[in-house]
Symmetry: C2
Subunit: 420 residues, 2 copies
């Protein structure tokens, strides 16, 4: 029988084991992370019928083999950012363990289809600055050349850090075979924003992850003495960059549900007595609709060119990263709505602003869905991240119902395939 | 006889001795600066009747004693910023040496009043971040407590750097006695802006130096995930700061001849995936009129509070520095206009945006005037800083005429004092 209270107890146990007064400290490829992993493995191996192993990318798998090799995957990540929240990532892992227990008990260790919990390695990218490491290795999307060169603040290269944890960097993509029989992928996560909080809803069905366009925009003007240069003679790179800020709010509003963020601004020479010669801002734009995202990008570019012209400065764009919107599976979206409704909560659909491992699994062609639970402060990556315990329990319950629906669906699809 | 061409030749000699392909490298209290100083001392000591010494603040004095102890001072600075211009500061020093030569020759080593050339120590403040060191020590305005704590990028404290050059920091204000007999102070400088260039004028009479209000303005919002935080839920510190940029252009325009500059902008956490929690900008405001400067400051403060309120963020102001406008001597202003006119150039009066050692001397109560020569690109603190040679020669000629008028004026004032 499902025991959602046990999940909350285990999450607190994990917090005590791997957190401190500043929050969760389970940064991937560190000792504390390895400790969390060992604790998780013990929990998994105590479940009758469950086998565990680690794949070539360092992802941890707990597998309950079913009558069919077709597998339902439940994925999360036990790693955290430094001083992170206690629920981000591991809520899913522990809910997955509880669901494995329920299924193992209900089916005498042999469910109709295989059920697997995966703990992805280094979702956060906190140490090496590159998120979704384990899931992108598994999906095949990891850029090997880029990853090979990543280093942490101490200068330790990612491949060397991996080796310390028994992982051969050059073989990480072999983990892709884990998805061979994957028939559906479910992920439960604390919402990393305030949407459910504002609506007063405990749970939400996630439609997909935003497409992202991420650029650095550099305006180039002319350094000039702050006291001796008349205002109308200035080529002020900061002025042009500053005009972008209200503009991206306008662009986001026009886009419907898109968001735009200028997250950093640097100035050169950056001294109090000089007009800014060079100003670099980063722009992060996200939308669930690819065409709307393209429009937001085009409008921002046009605006930057206009502001540059007005101020007699140059402007250059450099793409830092992009990803297309990833839409989750329609059938699984419907199941998630049903599962939420069956717990007595109102269903609600929303996009995910942040990326998640689910995006990588979806890109690999596995039907995928996420469910969000309300975040009390609408805040994540922070020690104050929290969710009401009743909402955590409700989430485990709804997620378990979603798992059952997915298992039945996989079984039906499997039967059709066998009979065709 | 005055030989302005010799000044140009000597300036080139100095450039060859202390510059490189990136510009002038005469940063105060460094070896190259000491080399420039040694070269200057040789030039001065070769003039009949001239004695040299260094005061307690490290200022270099070349003194031609006259029949009266009342002294005309001609001041400049041989130090430069790193990669600086070849004329900034040293044009005056070398013009002063040439004028000393002319006066010594004309009066057989004994002019009617004493004439002194001073090379102030560390006008630029390039190494320790504090300009006008030598002149403010001499004027008595140096903040000893602040200066005692200054350190360069390598962590070397100002008092230790001074000791290496034979200067006892605790005694620097004793240099003030040098001003005991000062009756007038003249300074010739390359304009550090484009005003004379735009007007097509070689020379200008400086009315005074701008008053300056210099503040750091910090906006405090809330870090939030760039993908998951709806636009209308953001408390974006950068948005409020960015709105200040167009606003200061409006404020400066309304002020008449004031200037306002946002020279630097820093953002925290300053990452592409987060709304900016804290944004700090520096604001430098300058005006020749104290009331107009106060108005500019008040308007900027009001605007910042309005933008903070609009964006639901906090704002805090910290004064970094201020100085009142310093108006130069009316009689010397008239003499400078006459001197320029007598060289055949049209007179023109303008304020100085940047501060100069002249401001410190004026604050000490010495009647003071500056003359500007056109800067070819309107640019300073840069290796491309330049002035046409014919304008350099014209400047030396006009400055020499100004010195003669000042000497006569000092003589007349001295006679009146003796006869009263």
């Amino acid at each position: 029988m499902l025991d959602p209270k046990r999940t909350v107890i285990e999450l607190k146990e994990l917090r005590a084991l791997t957190g401190d007064e500043n929050g969760a400290q389970r940064v991937a490829f560190t000792e504390i992370w390895a400790r969390a992993r060992g604790w998780l493995r013990e929990k998994a191996e105590a479940i009758p019928g469950v086998e565990t192993h680690r794949d070539e990318a360092g992802n941890f798998w707990a597998t309950l083999r079913g009558e069919s090799a077709k597998a339902l995957l439940i994925g999360g990540h036990i790693d955290s950012v430094p001083n992170g929240g206690w629920l981000d990532g591991c809520l899913n892992t522990m809910a997955g363990i509880e669901i494995l227990r329920r299924i193992s008990a209900q089916h005498g260790g042999k469910p109709p289809v295989t059920v697997r919990v995966v703990d992805w390695a280094d979702e956060e990218g906190a140490r090496f600055g590159k998120s979704l490491f384990g899931s992108s290795a598994c999906s095949g999307n990891l850029d090997m050349e880029e990853a090979r060169g990543l280093a942490d603040k101490a200068g330790i290269k990612l491949p060397d850090a991996l080796r310390e944890h028994g992982i051969d960097f050059e073989r990480v993509k072999e983990s892709g075979q884990e998805l061979a029989n994957a028939a559906a992928y479910l992920e439960l996560h604390i919402e990393q924003g305030p949407v459910l909080l504002d609506l007063g809803l405990p749970l939400g069905t996630v439609l997909g992850t935003f497409g992202v366009e991420r650029h650095a925009i550099t305006f180039g003007g002319q350094a000039a003495h702050s006291g001796s240069t008349p205002m109308n003679r200035r080529r002020d790179a900061f002025l042009a960059a500053a005009k972008m800020s209200p503009e991206i709010y306008r662009i986001a509003e026009q886009s419907g549900n898109g968001v735009c963020t200028i997250g950093s601004c640097t100035t050169k020479p950056g001294i109090v007595t000089s007009v800014v010669e060079e100003c670099r801002i980063t722009l992060d734009q996200r939308h669930l609709d690819a065409a709307a995202l393209a429009t937001m990008l085009r409008e921002a570019r046009t605006a930057s060119e206009q502001f540059a012209q007005e101020g007699n400065v140059e402007v250059a764009w450099e793409r830092l990263w992009q990803i297309q919107p990833i839409l989750f599976d329609d059938q699984l979206i419907a199941f998630a709505d049903e599962a939420i409704t069956e717990t007595g909560a109102p269903p609600h659909r929303l996009p995910s602003g942040p990326l998640h491992d689910a995006a990588e699994v979806a890109r690999a062609g596995v039907p995928t869905i996420m469910m969000f639970v309300q975040s009390l402060h609408g805040i994540s990556h922070n020690k104050i991240e929290d969710t009401k315990e009743e909402h955590l329990e409700l989430a485990v319950r709804a997620f378990d119902k979603l798992a059952d629906k997915a298992i039945a669906w996989i079984g039906r699809k499997n039967d059709r395939e066998l009979n065709s």
